[in-house]
Amino acid sequence: MTATARSARRAGPVARRYARAWFAAARESGSLDSVRADAALLGAVFADVQAVSAIEDPRLDDRRKRAMVEKAFGEMLHAHTRALLGVLERRRRLALLAEIPGAFGDLDDAHAERVRGVLETALPLAEEARQRIERALSARTGRQVTLAATTNPALLGGVRVTFGGTRLDASARGRIEVLKQRLLAAELR
């Protein structure tokens, strides 16, 4: 699952609570890998707008929604994931299923000390350079930084990295902005 797909829908506090329980259950039973695969699968499914509107449709009751999910993926899912579906149905919270996989991914990243981020450059960057930046940032933050590379011509040159609420701006655009602020603030007397 990519960082952008996850940030498309931000999990609310209730979804996070279910995700925490799901994650803890998976970790304690040692089945984190297969549950992680389930989360990735469900995350990919609910990256689609139509899937989200179906699961959040108030006209469908939760039993129908669960039956839909079970019918499509029932065989593939781990016992913990199927149990989660059961709990969500009983509590009539199946609409949260669109948000829970993302929250699970966040927990998984935090647990593994992984940080996902975006690397922006004006022109496409060589894979080797991206990895070098990842390694440098990982060494600096002490966490494993994974960056998704994108191009943004507005930067003019240089790179801009955004990860975990921090933005490292070494782009030409950023420097021009700083210079502009300084010139505007210069005292003329």
Binding site: G165, T166, R167, G174, V178, A185, A186
Partner: protein, 524 residues
């Protein structure tokens, strides 16, 4: 300000030469919700309380709620420019406003930006002060001991205000609260000749919160007409401004006042009015989904006012030795006159009781008195000054001593006045005296009186000099009597103007004799 193009170029050249372009690191977050002047931002992990947050389009916000996964900000600008998904940036700064003499005579908004069309302020970055400051500590303070003359007889005689005091002015709408503030500001002209450079001149700050723009224009015009603008700063967060601006305006005004206080000057700050600030804070609190308490105010609404008014204080003469990094001279003071507007005279509502308990006394204005022609409409029965007595001039204290009790007796017997001649002599005397004392305390607007005039007029009332002057003629008598005293007894009047003047038996006899002499010419 005239500038040569070559000078500008050289300044800019220096800036560019000194410019080191490194990578910058900043904390960012994403706007998840915006509306009603409030934005919720996801991210901003290391955001501090009250920190300024920058939104796209130059809109600033202040972080007020730090929650598990989001930061609640109030917007200090147009919220229409901020959209969901925008990137917000934390700045590491708190809200600061420009301070100093450049602001005198100006009208600024709650962020210190001029709104009077008289150009930019010539202030430097070093003039910026955070709007939230700690109040002076115990060792930096001193009891209130100098008077702050308002020029209003009813107040200076019975509810004296000292420098460093917080005196609440409370009353319904349209009872003359702002009129008292204006008179008090205008009267400060007498302290230093309206010259802000004179260290004796009391600096005034008028903070208008949630007022009509037209009222603020009116206030500014009146101050200008009476020559009071050169030593006054007007901070305006009008009814059209964002609730957040109305909420921070009193703190901004106080920060501007503190600059003068910390340099050993005396400042008078007027908050007109704190009820509207509490409304604005309630709005912000509810929109940020803080739990509503009594009357839907957030739980810390008491602290909202107490931390503001604690900053008004009289500093010790050696405050600059105790805390040299904060004060450049000791002995400064901030006197504040916070306003509270009541509904139907209900002083037991939530905000009025809070502010009554915070302040060092209150001046209660009553609409029934106002419409009965008693202006200023001060109800002397329930108005008090808890610390001002120590600051009253000795002569005024002596002369006004019996005033309050005489008026109280008059109010008690007033109901019997209609029985007229059926009353015994003692009662009639009390009624006669009382009716004249009420006349003595009436005063026209924009005519603050000097100390000597106030003393002489109050003395005329309490000593019985007026007892045979017809009630409708009392005010004319007093006005002419003061003129007469200034002409005939100029030296004595000048002495009485001073703070240290004593009211000896000789002075009393001299004024009494002059009064009798004047009465003959007045009657004739």
């Amino acid at each position: 300000m005239e500038l040569q193009a070559s000078e500008v170029t050289s300044v800019l050249k220096k800036e560019i030469q000194g410019f080191q372009a490194g990578a910058s690191t900043e904390q960012i977050g994403t706007v998840v919700q915006v509306g009603d002047g409030v934005a919720r931002v996801y991210g901003l992990d290391r955001c501090m309380m009250s920190e300024l947050v920058e939104f796209p389009g130059g809109v600033m916000g202040m972080a007020l709620n730090l929650e598990e996964d989001n930061v609640g900000c109030v917007l200090l600008g147009d919220s229409a420019k901020v959209r969901e998904g925008d990137t917000a940036r934390s700045t590491g700064r708190v809200i600061s406003v420009p301070t100093g003499e450049a602001l005198l005579g100006r009208v600024v908004n709650a962020l210190g930006v001029p709104v009077d069309g008289k150009g930019t302020l010539a202030t430097k970055d070093s003039d910026l002060r955070p709007i939230e400051q700690d109040a002076p500590s115990v060792v930096e303070r001193k009891p209130v001991h100098e008077p702050l003359m308002t020029g209003i007889k009813a107040i200076d005689a019975m509810i004296p205000v000292g420098r460093g005091q917080r005196e609440l002015i409370i009353g319904d709408r349209q009872t003359g609260k702002t009129a008292i503030a204006l008179d008090a500001i205008i009267n400060q002209k007498s302290t230093g000749g309206a010259d802000p450079k004179n260290p004796q001149q009391v600096i005034c700050v008028y903070v208008a919160i949630g007022q009509k723009q037209s009222t603020v224009v009116d206030v500014m015009g009146k101050l200008e007409r009476h020559g009071a603008l050169p030593y006054t700063i007007i901070v305006n967060a009008s009814a059209a401004d964002e609730a957040a601006m109305q909420f921070i305006a009193p703190y901004a005004g106080t920060a501007m006042a503190e600059r003068f206080r910390d340099a050993g000057r005396h400042v008078l700050v007027i908050y007109d009015d704190l009820t509207k600030q509490a409304y604005a804070y309630r709005q912000v609190g509810l929109l940020l989904r803080r739990p509503p308490g009594r009357e839907a105010y957030p739980g810390d609404v008491f602290n909202l006012h107490s931390r503001l008014l604690e900053r008004s204080a009289k500093l010790a003469d050696n405050a600059h030795e105790v805390t040299p990094q904060k004060y450049s001279a000791g002995g400064g003071s901030i006197t504040s006159l916070p306003f509270i507007e009541t509904q139907e005279g209900d002083v037991s509502a939530y905000i009025p009781t809070n502010v009554i308990s915070i302040t060092d006394g209150q001046i209660f204005l009553e609409s029934s008195l106002f419409y009965a022609g008693v202006r200023p409409a001060v109800n002397v029965g329930i108005s008090v000054s808890r610390v001002g007595g120590a600051a009253q001039t000795p002569a005024m204290k002596k002369v006004a001593g019996g005033l309050r009790i005489n008026l109280a007796q008059y109010r008690e017997l007033e109901a019997f006045a209609q029985f007229g001649s059926d009353l015994d002599k003692a009662t009639q005397d009390t009624l006669n005296r009382g009716a004249r004392l009420v006349e003595v305390l009436k005063q026209d607007q924009y005519l603050p009186l000097r100390n000597a005039e106030q003393i002489v007029q109050v003395f005329a009332g309490t000593s019985g000099l007026l007892d045979d002057v017809p009630v409708p003629k009392v005010r004319a008598f007093l006005a002419l009597f003061c003129e007469f005293m200034r002409a005939e007894n100029a030296k004595l009047m000048e002495e009485l103007d001073g703070w240290q003047a004593k009211w000896t038996d000789e002075v009393s006899a001299a004024v009494k004799a002059a009064g009798e002499k004047f009465k003959k010419t007045f009657a004739a």
